[in-house]
Symmetry: C2
Subunit: 171 residues, 2 copies
């Protein structure tokens, strides 16, 4: 759940090579709250997608493809957009292909490989599921903040997201 809570009377003497201080109580509680919300929210949203026979990652793919021109995207770009490894995405697309939600297609005259294409059924599924999912996101997350909190959190997180995207891009 958290990093380490040695921040109390039994803190060991810091060894000279340890230059990074442990989290303070104030930092620790925020770190724990972030981890807990991230984990529990994913769990709850997944649960509420189950009646639709969709995993949360499937829903994400449906959304990304539904917003792409012609409802299709190069597999490489889809991996980048969903922050997944290509091999993991490939397994997921196979499952979704079997469920009739997407199709893998070679693009004629394009050597850069395969596209994932939303099927009619995939598009209909997304439209059917989206209202329920938005309801879940509002009920368990978005509607629980004031407008000021929404903005404050966005402003705090946006540069962190950019930093992390940069690291990811280099890897």
């Amino acid at each position: 759940m958290d990093t380490h809570t040695i921040d109390t009377a039994d803190t060991p003497e810091p060894r000279p090579e340890e230059e990074t201080p442990w989290l303070t109580a104030r930092e620790q509680r925020m770190w724990r709250a972030h981890l807990e919300v991230a984990k529990l929210l994913e769990y709850q949203l997944s649960r509420e997608l189950q009646p639709h026979n969709l995993a949360i990652n499937d829903y994400e793919i449906l959304v990304v493809l539904s917003e792409a021109p012609d409802h299709r995207m190069r597999m490489t770009d889809l991996a980048t957009a969903t922050l997944q490894s290509k091999s993991r995405l490939s397994h997921q697309i196979t499952r979704m292909e079997n469920a009739g939600l997407v199709l893998r297609q070679e693009c004629p005259g394009d050597r850069r490989g395969l596209y994932a294409h939303l099927t009619e059924q995939g598009w209909e599924t997304m439209q059917r599921v989206a209202p329920d999912h938005v309801r879940s996101v509002r009920a368990h997350f978005i509607d629980r903040f004031t407008p000021e909190q929404l903005d404050a959190i966005y402003e705090a997180l946006a540069p962190v997201a950019e930093h992390l995207r940069g690291l990811r891009g280099r890897s």
Copy 2:
């Protein structure tokens, strides 16, 4: 990545049965930032644990057990503490047992089942890895916020975490 971005000129006419409005642009950007930070941070912290041959969930188990009395915990309680299903935890503990980090033990006179017990090697591993992990958490997350932002985010997230824990507890 996100819920749905129909929030523009091409928004379809809401059908009467849809009572939940789509996310506004302001809500949408916060929701995206949260999802992105949660996903990318977990990815980055996992990457930086790899040289220690630890998955991020393994590290979490080491931390929780190292804070428990006698460095041990009932499997059921460990599942609750780490927000995992018992079956998933059981697989993970098997892997960690094979790596020499924990031991499964029956408790004499206690019918309520198995305990997970941190081994000496598990304890040493935790102590060796913790400074690196704290460095990662600071570099990619905690040190990127002002003290005011840390407090504001904590205050916003804490009730959400409580709400989600409540739902989880009932499931």
